[in-house]
């Protein structure tokens, strides 16, 4: 019974990746909480319906290296140079990981 329930949880956990994790480990909320505001420009789950580049479909490495290049002004942008400077490299990695895992 316990084993069966665990499989159910595992299945739900993967199929419902957007649900806040059912855990008391506070750190588990961080990627989602860092990434949620990005949807305002990059679209729901990073899937942009308009002119702003989508994050959906990019690897964590692509997103993180892009953000870090904006942050250090090695890549020219418009608002992203200003926004990327608001995050630590660790936070950028967490956000990038979150978007790369979004189905």
């Amino acid at each position: 019974m316990k084993q069966k329930s665990w499989i159910t949880i595992a299945a739900l956990s993967t199929s419902a990746a957007l649900v806040l994790p059912a855990t008391t480990l506070a750190t588990d909320y961080r990627p989602a909480m860092l990434a949620n505001p990005c949807a305002g420009c990059h679209g729901p789950d990073g899937d942009s319906p308009g002119s702003i580049p989508s994050l959906k479909g990019l690897s964590a490495e692509e997103i993180a290296s892009g953000m870090k290049a904006f942050k250090k002004d090695r890549r020219k942008g418009t608002v992203m140079n200003r926004i990327a400077k608001g995050y630590s490299d660790e936070e950028i990695d967490l956000m990038a990981g979150y978007f790369s895992r979004t189905p």
Partner: protein, 426 residues
């Protein structure tokens, strides 16, 4: 099973047995099924309702909104400029209901009983909540400008809530004579959408330059400074030197009275005749927040800036323009960003959990011409002084940005609009 998985599993076992005791042993997640009522279906409330269901599908989320359709203030200036039709800024709640499983009630929250945790509506409903989220936007301080009351606003539109007011202002612009003066009167801080009046001046000037070239926009301002000021003024010098004049408050710009019958606006004891008068009056939190006793002496709602729970009543959260959110501006993006944090805080609190530190973002574009946009952005964090912008990040774009950047920002402005409305209503 690694250590973290094992810990989660053990925690889940604990929760599952607790839920079992409540007679819901089939729940795999420690879902709460709590009843959440959200009042107000704008950028803050609709986002919060959407993300509450996303974070915890077991919640019973009810959105109370008095309008069947929602017209956004963002891009309403571009409608006035002739770039878009009203359809572009119109949204409905269909997908919020069918796709995101939010129950939407078209009704008006009249009173709130924070002790009994109930909301009464004008249609006679009484709804109980475990948590209440108010996102009531703004209402106006009528007669703060002498003579500017609801009746006057039908002759001199504020158009600071989009919809029929936007239509009225656009109609007046179309019908006014070539050579007439369009007065825009922005209020003192704080107010909804700090760069909005100046984008509006730009978009109306864009329309006048093409269709009524002998007309101009006269901005009679209560303030001496405004958002993105340098970038706006640089662009006005270039595009609208004959079509926009800005008078700061200290130089006689502050509007003290209007006479809607004779279409005059009084500033610095001088009566000025307007062909069109767009009076943007001083503001306060939306009426329902006042009726619920959630406002301070300045008319806005003090909240715990981590959770957005009211500091006046427990289990009542206030987000968006109505809330006092530290350094965050009263903008649609801010409200939406707050809606997500508030949703997560509520879900975590119902589980006896905490989400730790949050961050918020505001990005705001303004159109000067269809091909020339400017922006301001910030990343916000909670400090011991409330919500503040991260130092060294954010701000307005550089003054010497190349034309290609301005063009990209105009393109991204529309991209932003499509994304945020898809995120909220889609």
């Amino acid at each position: 099973m690694n250590n973290i998985s094992r810990r989660r599993f053990i925690q889940w076992l604990g929760t599952a047995s607790a839920l079992g005791a409540l007679g819901t042993p089939s729940l795999a997640f420690p879902n709460t099924g709590a009843r959440i009522i959200v009042v107000g279906g704008g950028f803050g409330g609709a986002t919060c309702a959407n993300y509450l269901k996303r974070f915890d599908p077991s919640l019973e989320v009810t959105l109370i909104e008095s309008h069947k359709q929602f017209y956004t203030c963002p891009f309403s200036n571009a409608v006035l400029g002739g770039l878009y039709d009203m359809d572009f800024i119109r949204h409905d709640y269909n997908k919020l209901q069918s796709k995101h499983r939010v129950k939407v009630i078209q009704d008006n929250a009249s009173t709130i009983d924070p002790d009994k945790q109930t909301v009464h509506t004008t249609a006679g409903r009484t709804l109980s909540y475990d948590r209440l989220v108010l996102s009531p936007g703004i209402d106006f301080l009528w007669n703060a400008i002498e003579g500017y009351d609801p009746a006057a606003s039908l002759i001199m539109p504020h158009a600071w809530k989009a919809g029929s007011q936007t239509r009225l202002l656009r109609k007046q612009l179309h019908e006014m004579p070539n050579g007439g003066v369009v007065i825009i009167a922005p209020p003192a801080n704080p107010f909804r959408c700090p760069p909005g009046p100046y984008e509006r001046a730009s978009m109306i000037a864009h329309y006048l330059k093409q269709h009524k070239p002998r007309s101009k926009v006269l901005i009679l301002d209560a303030k001496d400074q405004f958002s993105k000021q340098t970038l706006f003024q640089d662009a006005w010098d270039e595009f609208y030197p004959d079509h926009i004049e800005w008078v700061p408050g200290s130089q006689g710009g502050k509007v003290t009275a209007v006479d809607a019958k004779h279409m005059t606006v009084t500033a610095d004891e001088e009566k000025i005749k307007a062909a069109v008068a767009n009076i943007i009056p001083p503001q306060m939190a939306g009426d329902v927040a006042h009726r619920a006793g959630l406002t301070n002496d300045k008319g806005w709602c003090p909240v715990n800036q981590k959770t957005f729970e009211s500091t006046i009543y427990k289990n009542v959260h206030v987000i968006g323009d109505a809330s006092i959110a530290g350094k965050m501006p009263k903008s649609g993006y801010s409200a939406s960003s707050q809606g997500k944090v508030c949703a997560a805080e509520i879900v975590a609190a119902l589980r006896g959990d905490t989400i730790g530190a949050s961050s918020w973002v505001n990005t705001c574009y303004s159109l000067i011409t269809p091909d020339y946009g400017i922006s301001v952005a910030a990343v916000y964090r909670l400090s011991d002084k409330g919500i503040v912008g991260v130092k060294g990040a954010g701000g307005v774009g550089p003054r010497d940005a190349p034309r290609a950047t301005r063009r990209m920002e105009a393109i991204y402005a529309e991209g932003w609009y499509r994304s945020i409305t898809a995120d909220i209503f889609g």
